[in-house]
């Protein structure tokens, strides 16, 4: 699973960091960034899906396989 976080949309509700703290890194004002490049390990998928569904502003999206190739620095 690969996800994208749109930080211009994030309003700092922080639910994602509750459900998947290893994926979503909080700053001290409650706004998040991805801890990694958006690749989600299988053992974290359930928490990330919960975060995706619970985000009130839909700042998290799952990338389709073709989109997941985009943003690859190797390109």
């Amino acid at each position: 699973m690969k996800i994208k976080l749109d930080r211009t949309v994030c309003d700092g509700f922080g639910l994602c960091a509750v459900h998947a703290p290893e994926t979503f890194s909080l700053d001290e004002w409650g706004y998040v960034s991805l801890a990694g490049a958006g690749d989600v390990a299988p053992e974290h998928e359930q928490g990330v899906r919960r975060a995706l569904l619970d985000c009130p502003v839909h700042a998290i999206t799952e990338l389709k396989p073709v989109e997941a190739q985009q943003g690859d620095p190797a390109r």
Partner: protein
Amino acid sequence: MSLTADVHVTTAVAAHPGVGARLVAGVVGREDLHQYLSAGGYAAVEDAEHLLREVDRAGLRGRGGAAFPTARKLRTVRTGRGVPVVVANGEEGEPASVKDRWLLRHRPHLVLDGLRLAALATGSGDPHVYVSDPASESSVRQALREVAAAGLWDAAVTVTLVEPTYVAGEETAVVRALNGGPALPMDKPPRPYESGVAGRPTLVSNVETLANLPLVQRLGAAGYREVGTAAAPGTFLLTLTGCAASGLYEIPFGQTPRGVLGWLGEETGTVSGLLMGGYFSGVLGRRALDIPLDYDSLKAAGSGLGCGAVAVLSDRSCPVAVSAAVMAYFARENAAQCGSCFNGTAAMSAVLEALVEHKAGADDVRRLTHWSTFLRGRGACGTLDGATNVAASLLREFPDLVATHVDGTCGICDAGVRVTDPPYAAALPAG
């Protein structure tokens, strides 16, 4: 701290000895089509692949700040999914830089020729020019009329004028504006080269970068590399502020600030440091005088050339006050989109402001130190990274001066020397 607006009007323009006729030499006023053609402009391209190879061999890298290899970007856009779009980005958001506007106002044909070559190299039939300076816009529109009348380039070039802001020239802000939205950055992915204008692979290229393409075509890769260094060939446009010789200069990569200032007849005895890359790359101490102005040397020193704007800090400009003024600018001019950015720049600005006024304690400095690393990479665009660069570089380059501001007295600040807001801002004569 009281702030006064004071914008340096850039009138001095010169090329460093040995550069020859590249970007600025020999240009008086606005170069018209006849002048540009007689210098070999708008030359035919036999083979786009050959042109790409020459750009690759020339070692050209982006001049907007990111220094990405141009040939790689061209190839990626060329082979992307969909018909490519090419954009000449002349929206110069850095307050201390004038080079892009100078090129558009004085050498519009060089930039358009570069855009034409980029379109040919990528297979794009949809070229754009994106600016925020009305004088640049009219110069480009006039150049396009001249080109159309002469039948030199039949592409329909779209010219877009936006309001000038710090973030409007960021590549995803450019794409967003050209797609009909506000000129504000977007989070990545996708990058414009993957999905940009109308969802097509889009080359957003700084106008100075594009202006180098006709030079590569005319000089060939080997000729292009005759100035500069092996790792950073060619020249760059330096917007110099903060000294008597403030101006726009074309400099071969690898020159030291001491050498450049010596060439311009500047005394370096009172130089306390440099503000690098416009506002993006932070401050360097006096050691900066001997660091070659090229990508690798500055990166190794923890700094960067960015857009090529350099401000000279003298013994009458306190680096703490300068950093505070730059941070205040970021706190005010950020896009107000990402929470980490609008909160982080405001928080760092508050600490720096308190430092200037001798009201900050050791705890404040510890918090600033934490933010200067923790907040890096936490914004959708580079604004927050520029802000962390300013904080981190001040703490690294001037630790004693920071300590003095906590529990001592700063001679410069106490003498009432004030920093202008925005600091070291530059402009071109009303045009």
